[in-house]
Amino acid sequence: MADTMQFDLVSPERRLASMQVTAVQIPGTEGDMTAMADHAPTITTLRPGLLRVESPEGTSEYVVTGGFAEIGGQGGGVSVLAERAVARADMTQEQMDSMVAEAHAVYARAKDNWENEPGPVDDAAKLLADMVAVGDHIGLSSKQPNL
């Protein structure tokens, strides 16, 4: 059996999961990465996406929005600190819609605030696109965003 490591998923409001796992697939800002036991210590920021956790008992998935993940910190485990995290099974269309709507609002605000600077606007557009992609991926499609 593969080595296991401690995995914690916490959001500001509560601790969602704390268990021994074999691998965690993390939606990092620069791309997905899978962390297994004895991974090099890494801190990465998250994009909205699916967090897949493989443990000896089976696989579970969570939808996470922004935040960050600390791999190989104290004790060598993985801690994911997500702003918002919901188990995939608990995800409803309404929640998805509200998340997408929020991303929309951020995008609109960015467009207003930084009219001539592409940086923040692109970031916001990416956030929105990521959010929509998650929705499509788990079968909760949202109205197509008009970018």
């Binding site: 800002t29 960050f68 104290q74 600190l81």
Partner: protein
Amino acid sequence: MPNLKDLKNRIASVKSTRKITKAMQMVAAAKLRRAQEAAEASRPYTERFNAVMAGLAGSVGGSDSAPKLLSGTGEDKVHLLVVMTAERGLCGGFNSNIAKKAKAHARELLAQGKEVKILTVGKKGRDALRRDMGDHLVGHVDLSEVKKIGYGDAQKIAQDVLNRFDAGEFDVATIFYAKFVNVVMQTPTAQQIIPAKFDAEDGEDSSASTLFDYEPSEEAVLADLLPRGVATAIFSALLENGASEQGARMSAMDNATRNAGEMIDKLTIQYNRSRQAVITNELIEIISGAEAL
């Protein structure tokens, strides 16, 4: 001497007051438990977050390229005080203690010739500060519609604060709230959030000593996390405040209930005495009337 009917009415009214305060105490006790649970639940996140930030701030903070949220604007002229209080009264000295602390801080800053701006969260704080510090109030966040404080609420406040910071409205931000010690004690606390200060609590230096890889880069991670740090600090302050408010209300209402009980006892004795006096009086009148015949 007050007449019997008045006394009786008085007793009835104090009794109904006692019923109300008793009910409020029980409601506060139930809410306190929930507020404490919420505060408890947010702790792992906050602790982890601060540990990581402390490590990051330690390694990047010294350099010149450190983000402004961490290193400050380099000035110390304009202070923003975020005063968090409850939306309702009847909770003992809770609101006024926070307001008093904020006021003292503001006076001190003004005496040093600094500029003070105040952002209030919660109606009671605004009411308390409006009289003395009315000119300094720059905004108000209304949470009266919010039943259960969520991270989203903290994010909104943080966004407001950050927008003001980006617009160069202030150099230093401090939040005022009541730290929950226990049911009978809540300490008004001031905490500086911008420039951010992260003290590695309970000796968690181990994360600082581990060498992390950062993705995308150390600076980018820090720049991404600092605004979240503001939201996290505000969120945990809001939760502490929620627990403190209920604790303060519970003990205030407990006192009120006890006082009402004492008052009822006193009034009842007075009522019985005057009733006795009336009876004695009547008897004397009858007897002396009979004797006169």
